[in-house]
């Protein structure tokens, strides 16, 4: 190996130019070269949460024996892992021992985890609880059913704390499982009697808070605000807050004082990300009276995702003229859990049923992800997928119109790509199952 150090002026320039698109990769490459360098830590988070720097640890001895400090980020690049851990640790731990009042949140806990909607709602609860720094309120979460958390043991509780929960009432009895609005309502009534919270916040999500929240509001005799998407402080209002709620099928904004029970939409507030709360477990003092249910849950019924109406589907795998192996296509849709769609040509050729046709002359779809396989993208088809969030295209022809519309386009043989995707998903699923 030659000992001559070859300088690459371009790379050095990129390493100095923090706005250069290749900056990070060049830094990483340079970082590898400097591997094993060790060196003192130049920057850390002090005990009071203040960033401390050691200027002596920064810099290096230049070719002329002069110490140089490179502010290009070259050194930062090497220390990136340290700073991110510092950032994670930067959450303040907050404990509220003597709350002035309580804000009760009933998260959906979809699949045993806090959903994004739940976290937004907890963010809103925190805003309401922390409005007066002198007299903070506590956020109480009522959890029904199993709570899986992000991991096991302590981490599991940490997820709750990090979402902004001070107290947790966990009701994990069997009779709360499935569709049990009457039992859940009885439990919430017991909470009301025992804690008399100032606010009840529930997510306005169909089949979750939307149902339970309305039942609760009527039981408490409150005229709930539903579809709330904005909450602002308002001294005129009886409870100190006013809210803006969607009404009339989303076509109206209703501004009104925030009532005791509010059902809020997703993104009603920013989720908590700077503090960590105690998530202390509480048990209800009084036992909850068991009610005789007039609704009996007989369990979930298996439904074929292929049968889901196209207009409602969230994820559509759509096939066109370029699909050669329809069996593989159907298999892929099944594995991905996608609803099947088709271009007009595929329908005309008899590969798919007419009600699966996507486009101006078929169904207008609103999927989150629309995956077009072997569809060139006739104008009518593109019109029909206008309202889709993300379009993925798999096609042999890089020049066809769907590529222009697609957020991600893969040029290649659709059968092979789908097969690879299916294998990948199956492998991931298998892995997850093993882990669980």
């Amino acid at each position: 190996m030659s000992e001559i150090i070859r300088r690459d002026p371009r790379r050095e320039w990129i390493a100095r130019n923090r706005l250069h698109p290749e900056h990070a990769s060049v830094l990483a490459a340079l970082g590898v070269n400097r591997g094993g360098d060790g060196g003192a830590v130049s920057e850390w988070l002090g005990p009071n949460g203040v960033v401390r720097k050691n200027p002596r640890a920064i810099g290096f001895i230049g070719p002329n024996g002069v110490k140089r400090i490179d502010r290009s980020g070259l050194q930062q690049g090497g220390q990136s892992t340290a700073t991110t851990t510092a950032a994670r640790d930067s959450r303040r731990t907050v404990t509220i021992d003597q709350p002035a009042f309580l804000v009760v949140v009933v998260p959906d806990l979809t699949g045993g985890r806090l959903s994004g909607h739940d976290k937004d709602l907890l963010g809103l609860a925190r805003r309401v609880a922390d409005a007066d720094a002198e007299q903070p309120g506590a956020v109480v979460a009522i959890l029904f059913g199993e709570h899986k958390g992000e991991g096991g043991g302590e981490l599991k509780e940490q997820a709750l704390g990090e979402a902004g929960i001070d107290r947790v009432v966990h009701l994990d009895d069997e009779f709360y499982a499935g569709f049990a609005p009457e039992a859940r309502l009885a439990a919430l009534s017991a909470v009301e009697r025992e804690m008399t919270p100032r606010f009840w916040l529930l997510p306005d999500s169909p089949l979750g808070g939307a149902d339970l929240g309305r039942r609760l509001a009527l039981r408490l005799g409150e005229r709930a605000a539903t579809g709330v998407w904005q909450v602002e402080a308002d001294n005129e209002a009886p409870l100190g807050w006013r809210c803006t709620a969607r009404g009339a099928a989303g076509s109206l904004d209703i501004q009104r004082p925030l009532p005791r029970v509010a059902l809020a939409l997703a993104e009603c507030a920013e989720p908590v990300d700077e503090t960590r709360h105690a998530a202390e477990h509480l048990a209800l003092a009084a036992s909850i009276p068991t009610t005789l249910s007039r609704i009996e849950d007989l369990g979930q019924v298996a439904v074929d995702p292929a049968g889901v109406a196209l207009a409602e589907a969230e994820f559509i795998l759509s096939g066109g003229n370029g699909v050669k192996q329809w069996d593989a296509f159907h298999h892929a849709a099944k594995v991905l859990g996608a609803t099947e769609g088709a271009s007009r040509v595929a329908v005309d050729d008899g590969f798919m049923a007419r009600d699966r046709q996507v486009g101006a002359t078929g169904t207008w779809v609103t999927a989150r992800v629309y995956m077009a396989v072997g569809i060139s993208g006739a104008i009518q088809h593109l019109q029909g997928i206008q309202r889709c969030d993300k379009v993925v295209a798999i096609n042999l022809d890089p020049g066809c119109d769907i590529i222009k519309r697609a957020d991600l386009a893969v040029i290649g043989d659709s059968t092979q790509i789908l097969a690879a995707l299916v294998a990948m998903v199956e492998q991931q699923r298998g892995g997850q199952r093993d882990a669980a």
């Binding site: 930062q76 700073t83 991110t84 950032a87 569709f179 609005p181 009457e182 169909p206 089949l207 149902d211 039942r215 509001a217 009527l218 005229r223 709930a224 539903t226 579809g227 969607r246 009404g247 009339a248 099928a249 076509s251 109206l252 904004d253 501004q255 993104e267 007039r294 609704i295 009996e296 849950d297 007989l298 979930q300 439904v303 995702p305 049968g307 109406a309 409602e312 589907a313 969230e314 859990g337 996608a338 989150r368 992800v369 995956m371 969030d389 993300k390 890089p398 590529i403 697609a406 957020d407 991600l408 893969v410 040029i411 290649g412 092979q416 790509i417 995707l421 990948m424 998903v425 991931q428």
Partner: protein, 280 residues
Amino acid sequence: MQPDLQQKQQQQGIDVAVLVSIGRHPTTGRARRAEQDARGLELALAIEAELPGTRISMLHAGSQDDSSEAALRGYLGMATGVGMGLESMTLLEQPEGSDAIPALAKHLAATSPQLVITGARAERGEGSGLLPYALAEHLGWPLVNSLASVEKVENGVVTLLQALPRGQRRRLKVRLPAIISVDEAAPAARQSAFGPARRATFAITPTTPEADSELAQWHLAPARKRPKRLKIVKAASARDRFKAAASKSEGKGGQVLTDVTPEQGAEAIYQLLKEEDVLR
């Protein structure tokens, strides 16, 4: 034998009340039959087809004027079979701005149907979706929301399918009388035909209106567009923040992968599917 059987079936039929409201077309705002209420009526018609002898009564609380009448006739036009018993609907007349709940609760308590079907929420006014719950609380009846279909009615117990996200279904057994509410998951309403709609009549029942004073105090405005939440970037340095901001505009154009192996292509797609959280 045969007439006996028929009579027995006749007796099995139940009284269904369908609550309907004046809808509002989302783009033009024109009065129409409300989407969810129409699905509710469709559900009632499906029960009638299954259970001969079922009697459907339609109920609307509100004022009577030309545009609302046209919208209500939209429901009546769904009587496209022979002898469907939708020749008329009951209109609980009350001025605009009145609270519909007391009038409906009173009427339902008096007529005591076994099953009440409503849409989940109205397309006009507050549209809070509290009405079915308020009626359930008033009448003390069980309520099931987001109904997909009614499977059978037997001995005062109805077996239902409730819609879950992503087209999933849950089977429930509910003791009658009950209220069920219907949203977009229920089967779409049949076409409303001009002829039956034109022929149908209204049975107008006056009510003692109670003004909705609380609603009158609120500030109502056409819905504003909600700001789209930006991706929150918790960046340690200015450079990361810049990169995060810059990458957004970059992503708009769309990424095209050419000359990749199927595995690489699949990997890219897999990442996107993960990011969008559609794989479950």
